[in-house]
Symmetry: C2
Subunit: 395 residues, 2 copies
């Protein structure tokens, strides 16, 4: 019942190596080939012209996650921009719990489009896939919600819910979706086998239901008969795409708009590009709860460097940015394009040492950490309850 | 997605014919062999000594359904009597919606044991298996609940809930059960295949959850840490046994008592013993909503008779009670043993004609119908709400 026993949906072995990407496993032998993933998944690459149109329409600067290809793929994001152009805002849809990168980007999208946002905490999924008790999973939910709230979501426009708490509202759509999708399809999309628990087979419709606006009568009920025409946009890491491929198939059969998607790359582990961060290896990731010293130690000791072995070699040849984790982290967290390209130029030509880049990163991460921990310490249980209470949103 | 496409769990072809019994299909070519069913299912036949002990302990007359073998099989009903003997009452558990026979017997059990009763309306199952909309299924639920309430259940001790309304309370146990049961097991128990909807695979844990007392914190919460030691008894038709076989397997793994069961035979269709009544054939059954004239016409024209073709032959040879539907119906609805055996004796020896037995039955059924319709007309929507409201019970 743990992640490691998951069968594989996508795999291939060619000269560029093997990669396995499912909602529960991400691994590759030679780094992840995202273009190949787009081919396999049948999604669409985000090109510069889409980003240009986004900036033109919203009159907002594109997020650096977009400009730097961290969010790199989409499904019908174009239609979301069409809606926005026509004055009909999308509703920013359900998120998969885990990493903060999608949440940072989601917050940006919410501000740009000025739309209601629903955030799905899949504490049932966590219990079904991991070797934890239901009570532990429920406890983690509250802790994770605090981290999400600390990012600064607008309580007037944001509804956070957990599946275990909110199932009664999802359930009508869950059974409708469940009736539409055969076991064969679930096996094909997710790669489950007959030795998997039936709980896993029951889960995809639960993940899918929040894509449909009438799962939230308190938010979208005011649209009455028009409720099914509301469009939803889901920012998520690319490994979550299978859920929404299924959801998009079902949507038209049930009379809904297909949810649009925008996909991010995987945030790399400190050790390098081949996996995403794993909660089970403390040294694979920097946590928001880490102390300044822990951050410093982790980056210094564990962040894989593309710099050369000696100061002399580094000054002569420069760093290989393509495999350098500290530099890649800066692309996520250093927003200023000019400063970033200056570092890139200096570091790759040997005018900057790994230790300097690392200490730049440690600085930024500790700043973010301090800010986050401060914000998080203000998030009381009452604030969690307020975000998770069933209520109208103002949008 | 309809009943008729269901795969078969149990089937056999020997000289006594073929029978197929699943929770969705009941058919047999030569009448149902209940002893064989007990063998196949691995349940236990109800013998006279169990009935005697029941009467001795409860100081109540055994229901005629028990004495006449209509409830004919059980699982650990003995343990329920043990509990009762030791002064610990069982909680009468979840029922499958459909036929009124289990409800009549359940009402009797509730009175005998003086226990809380929960009645599960599986409107999600109805939607998943039948060619109806979710809205239709919800509408039927209310109508069916009215029929059940009209039987006279004690509102102080009875909680009726539908899965769609009550799912939030069931869901923690649903995911725990779902995590325990593999797809292989579900396929083995229920005979689902890969072309069935994943909604069907999600359903067995939902049917199972009400067997566990902590699915009803408002009823059993007062037992605190002892809640898991509460025993549950489920009266149901024998075709529902697979659900509870699975539930019993899971119970011990999750630290619960195994639910006890008591199984009824199938109420035969008017046309004879080979199937149970079908809602899709109006003339296969007498409905509680039928007019006196409809009841008369149905019994007169459609009830399969074991009487002879002519009055002369009947007087000479007598009726074959084993295949006579009007007589079998009397075993359900004519409580007086002396009157019943008098009819049996006269009818089987030709001293009574089919038309007389039929008009005796018509009389009884119309009386029951009138009484039921009167009782049902008093069941307002507010009373339905009261039975279905989440509240403490007095027991």
């Amino acid at each position: 019942m743990t992640d490691t026993n998951q069968p594989t949906v996508e795999s291939s072995q060619e000269e560029e190596g093997t990669q396995e990407i499912t909602p529960w496993t991400v691994s590759s032998t030679k780094g992840i080939n995202y273009d190949k993933l787009i081919d396999q998944f049948g999604s669409t690459k985000i090109h510069q012209d889409l980003i240009d149109r986004f900036e033109r329409l919203t009159k907002k600067k594109a997020h650096h996650f977009l400009k730097r290809g961290i969010f790199f793929s989409h499904r019908e994001f174009k239609e979301i921009l069409d809606c926005y152009e026509q004055g009909r805002g999308p509703s920013s849809g359900s998120l998969h719990f885990g990493h903060l990168v999608p949440f940072i980007f989601t917050k940006y999208l919410q501000e740009v489009f000025n739309v209601p946002l629903v955030i799905q905490m899949t504490n049932d999924e966590k219990f079904l896939w991991k070797d934890i008790t239901l009570e532990e999973s429920i406890h983690y939910t509250v802790e994770n919600v605090k981290d999400i709230i600390a990012l600064g979501f607008d309580i007037e426009k944001t509804f956070i819910f957990s599946n275990l708490d909110y199932i009664q509202y999802l359930y009508p759509n869950v059974v409708k979706i469940g009736k539409c999708v055969t076991l064969n399809q679930v096996k094909g999309i997710f790669g489950f086998g007959d030795s998997d628990s039936c709980g896993k087979f029951a889960f995809p419709p639960i993940q899918a239901a929040p894509s449909f606006p009438d799962s939230f009568p308190h938010i979208f009920g005011k649209y009455g008969d028009q409720i099914k025409s509301i469009r939803c946009l889901i920012p998520c890491a690319i490994d979550q795409d299978p859920y929404f491929r299924m959801t998009r198939d079902v949507a038209s059969r049930l009379g809904y708009q297909k949810p649009s998607l925008i996909h991010s790359k995987f945030f790399p582990a400190l050790q390098g590009h081949n996996t995403k961060m794993s909660a089970s290896d403390q040294n694979s990731a920097v946590y928001l709860s880490d102390t300044p010293q822990q951050v410093k130690d982790k980056v210094t000791k564990h962040a894989f460097s593309g710099g050369r072995d000696t100061k002399e070699e580094q000054e002569k040849f420069g760093a290989n940015l393509a495999v350098d984790v500290p530099y890649e982290y800066l692309t996520y967290f250093l927003e200023d394009d000019d400063v970033l390209s200056n570092i890139a130029e200096k570091y790759s030509t040997g005018k900057m040492l790994t230790s300097e880049v690392k200490s730049y990163l440690i600085n930024i991460m500790n700043q973010m950490n301090q800010q986050h921990q401060q914000a998080r310490s203000m998030v009381t249980n009452d604030i969690v309850k307020a975000f998770m209470s069933i209520r109208q949103l103002n949008y």
